[in-house]
């Protein structure tokens, strides 16, 4: 199957399954997925920090896999599943297991990095769980190295993740 070339001067329809619901918007080829989520679809839970993949604030799940939305084009997400922090809590507003653990352990202060960390951790813990593995603290810290947090010093984040992973 061949695909059409999307012109730089036009907007193109982009349809994604966002947190379980089909959403459509329009995007030029150069638009980043992070900007598409925030500006086109109005979901500002995905934060934008460095825009070159270093800080981790913009991490979302694309077809279940945690990745940087600032290093992904909106048009690349067309027809795929995207999960953001807005989808973690239940319809009734009840926090997910991970979010509740973050609250209990005071694993956030300003919250800027938190949404990315939650999305990374959700994917990573699910994958380990599928393999029947429980991570060591070193492995948790290793995974967290992909996120910059300037408030907490990471210790409460590690505690929250260890509690969920070993629950």
């Amino acid at each position: 199957m061949t695909h059409p070339t999307l012109s730089r001067t036009q907007l193109h329809p982009v349809t994604i399954e966002l947190n379980g619901r089909t959403r459509q918007g329009h995007s030029a080829p150069r638009m980043l997925l992070s900007d598409y989520l925030r500006h086109e679809l109005g979901l500002t839970g995905t934060h934008v920090g460095c825009e070159h993949g270093v800080c981790g604030a913009c991490t979302v799940r694309l077809d279940g896999v945690a990745c940087r939305s600032c290093l992904t084009l909106a048009v690349q997400a067309d027809g795929r599943r995207v999960d953001t922090v807005e989808g973690l809590a239940g319809e009734d507003g009840v926090l997910s297991e991970l979010q509740a653990a973050f609250k209990r352990h005071h694993a956030l202060q300003c919250g800027f990095c938190t949404t990315g960390i939650l999305m990374s951790s959700a994917d990573w813990l699910e994958r380990l769980r599928a393999q029947g593995r429980r991570p060591t603290e070193q492995e948790v810290r290793d995974m967290l190295s992909g996120h910059l947090c300037r408030c907490t010093g990471y210790t409460p984040i590690v505690s929250a993740l260890m509690e969920v992973a070993h629950a």
Binding site: M1, T5, C50, C67, L73, S145
Partner: protein, 274 residues
């Protein structure tokens, strides 16, 4: 930090990608994982006219053993290789290396071939390909060629790939009985690019040591069995031959020191029975 405008096209087969490359040549860039390219585009260090996206090609995402080599296709992610259950038996060097390659979230999307094609002198996967005597498969619209890693890397972010060629796959020779592997890296932060990285492959007859992060491309030396001060001398000669430079991270003298120290440690690890 937004990329300049470009046209975008998805190519799901090697033929489609090569036909587009033949038509657009140097004006086009292949987008696989985008973990180097998208950052480069966001910073406008490159402004290609067309992006050819191969990231959703199932045929190019294959990782398979063929003729004693593990062949990794152009759109296979680093995570797909890292989480491969048989990797420890096939390529015991790589599980030692993966924790040093950026972060989980980047490896989830970054490709093995993309890292090799980008040819950052500090990157770990080009270093491993060189250390393991791997090769690259370069495909163009009509025909393909296979180049050993030693001939592929030609300088800082530079390779022997022509503008109309796709790096279709990389091939790592499988580990043989009697081979041992070692890896050591020094970087400023966990997951950062290496200030110096050393991979070592040892067997009963010889020793092969590759160094990244120092010269303008990964470099390799192969010696017959060396020990004690003869090994120190060989590593010292290698360190000086890499033409290390002072930069904002570290001095040339410190880099040479790292080559000697990490070199020694990597060799010892490679010689330690598993």
């Amino acid at each position: 930090m937004k990329p300049a405008a470009f046209d975008y096209v998805r190519a799901d087969s090697v033929e489609a990608a090569c036909a587009l490359l033949a038509e657009h040549g140097d004006e086009a860039r292949i987008l696989a994982g985008g973990q180097s390219l998208m950052a480069v585009l966001n910073m406008r260090l490159a402004q290609p006219a067309l992006l050819i996206d191969i990231s959703r090609s199932a045929s190019l995402a294959r990782i398979e053993v063929r003729d004693g080599q593990l062949e990794v296709g152009a759109s296979a992610t680093q995570a797909a290789l890292e989480w491969r259950p048989t990797l420890t038996q096939e390529l015991p060097l790589l599980p030692l290396v993966f924790p040093h390659i950026s972060h989980v979230q980047i490896r989830n999307r970054g490709t093995v071939c993309g890292s090799v094609a980008h040819a950052d002198p500090s990157a770990e996967l080009p270093l491993c390909l060189l250390a393991l005597k791997g090769s690259v498969v370069l495909r163009r619209h009509q025909g393909q060629r296979v180049l050993p890693a030693e001939q592929f890397f030609t300088g800082m972010l530079s390779t022997a790939r022509a503008g109309d060629e796709l790096l279709q796959a990389v091939r790592f020779p499988l580990a043989r009985p009697g081979q041992g592997f070692g890896f050591r890296e020094f970087s400023r932060r966990h997951g950062d690019f290496a200030v110096c990285a050393v991979a070592a492959v040892a067997d009963a007859q010889s020793l092969r040591v590759a160094v990244g992060g120092v010269a303008d491309r990964p470099q390799v030396r192969e010696w017959p069995l060396l020990d004690g001060s003869a090994l120190d001398d060989a590593l010292n000669e290698f360190a000086w031959a890499l033409d290390a430079r002072d930069d904002t991270q570290i001095s040339a003298a410190a880099r040479r020191h790292l080559v000697r120290r990490l070199g020694r440690q990597a060799v010892e690890q490679a010689r330690t029975p598993v």
